[in-house]
């Protein structure tokens, strides 16, 4: 099992996530697709860490998880705030920043 398999899998997952961000219009699902892309990056980091026998890539993956958690918290807070103000949960209707 060469490391290339894992890196190619991570590229596929990243492309699926990017496609989801482009296709879907619900902010919640767009956040989920961002998670997909971040996890694809994590898989690549861990695979490279395996290829070089160096655990520093795993620390990097851990930090990416932290950043993803922050992004989720702020993003979900925004979604709840949008929902509370009874605005439509659709990124196309929300493209204008004026309140």
């Amino acid at each position: 099992m060469t490391v290339t398999w894992y890196v190619v899998l991570s590229a596929v997952l990243f492309a699926v996530g990017a496609g989801g961000v482009l296709i879907r219009r619900s902010p919640l699902v767009i956040l989920l697709c961002l998670e997909l892309m971040l996890n694809a990056g994590n898989l690549a980091l861990v695979a490279f860490s395996r290829a070089h026998g160096n655990a520093e890539g795993q620390v990097f993956a851990l930090i990416v998880m932290v950043v993803a958690a922050c992004e989720v918290v702020v993003g979900l807070g925004l979604i709840v705030a949008i929902f509370r103000r009874r605005l439509p949960l659709n990124v196309d209707d929300l493209r204008e920043l004026r309140g």
Partner: protein, 179 residues
């Protein structure tokens, strides 16, 4: 055996990822993402990243997904309109994603990194254990660790500010005043 485990994990991860996009109800998308994350944890185990795999299941598939499930249940299933602001978006978007995949595949398969074509070096038994990751995190990457804790604090405060009760009440009153 390793091939079976890898392909089981890969199919789970890709299937979960596609299901996240394909499901119309956001609630099911969240559940599909849980499948994806657990499959990825299995792949991490194959890559000798035990601690990352455990953290993935506990923190991601556990805690973060509970947050998602909560918000998906709170917001409810919003119907996505079929109206497209960009004509042909439904066909252009998968095309662009496929183009991205081709680019990435060219970059990976055409790379001169010879380490990629091996299974990697033989690793000591301590590779990827919490001990090793902890030593790295608290010795070599201490500043990164502290920055991450700071970032988490700022994000928590930001979320409270955005979605907090008092803020919402003030906004409701303002909306009522202008109405």
């Amino acid at each position: 055996m390793i091939y079976v485990a890898f392909f089981a994990g890969a199919i789970g991860a890709i299937g979960g990822a596609v299901a996240v996009i394909a499901m119309r109800n956001p609630f099911y998308s969240v559940l599909a993402l849980v499948v994806h994350l657990v499959s990825l944890a299995g792949l991490f185990l194959l890559l000798y990243a035990q601690f990352i795999a455990a953290a993935q299941v506990v923190v991601y598939a556990g805690a973060v997904m509970v947050l998602y499930v909560f918000v998906a249940a709170y917001v409810g299933a919003a119907e996505e309109p079929l109206w497209e602001p960009i004509p042909g978006q439904r066909f252009l978007a998968p095309l662009l994603a496929a183009a991205l995949l081709v680019e990435l595949a060219i970059a990976i398969l055409g790379t001169g990194l010879s380490a990629l074509d091996t299974g990697g070096p033989t690793l000591p038994a301590s590779f990827g254990t919490p001990t090793q990751v902890g030593h790295l995190l608290l010795e070599r990457f201490l500043i990164v660790f502290e920055a991450a804790s700071m970032l988490l604090l700022v994000a928590a405060v930001g979320a409270v500010t955005l979605a907090g009760r008092a803020h919402a009440r003030a906004e409701d009153e303002r909306a009522r005043g202008t109405a």
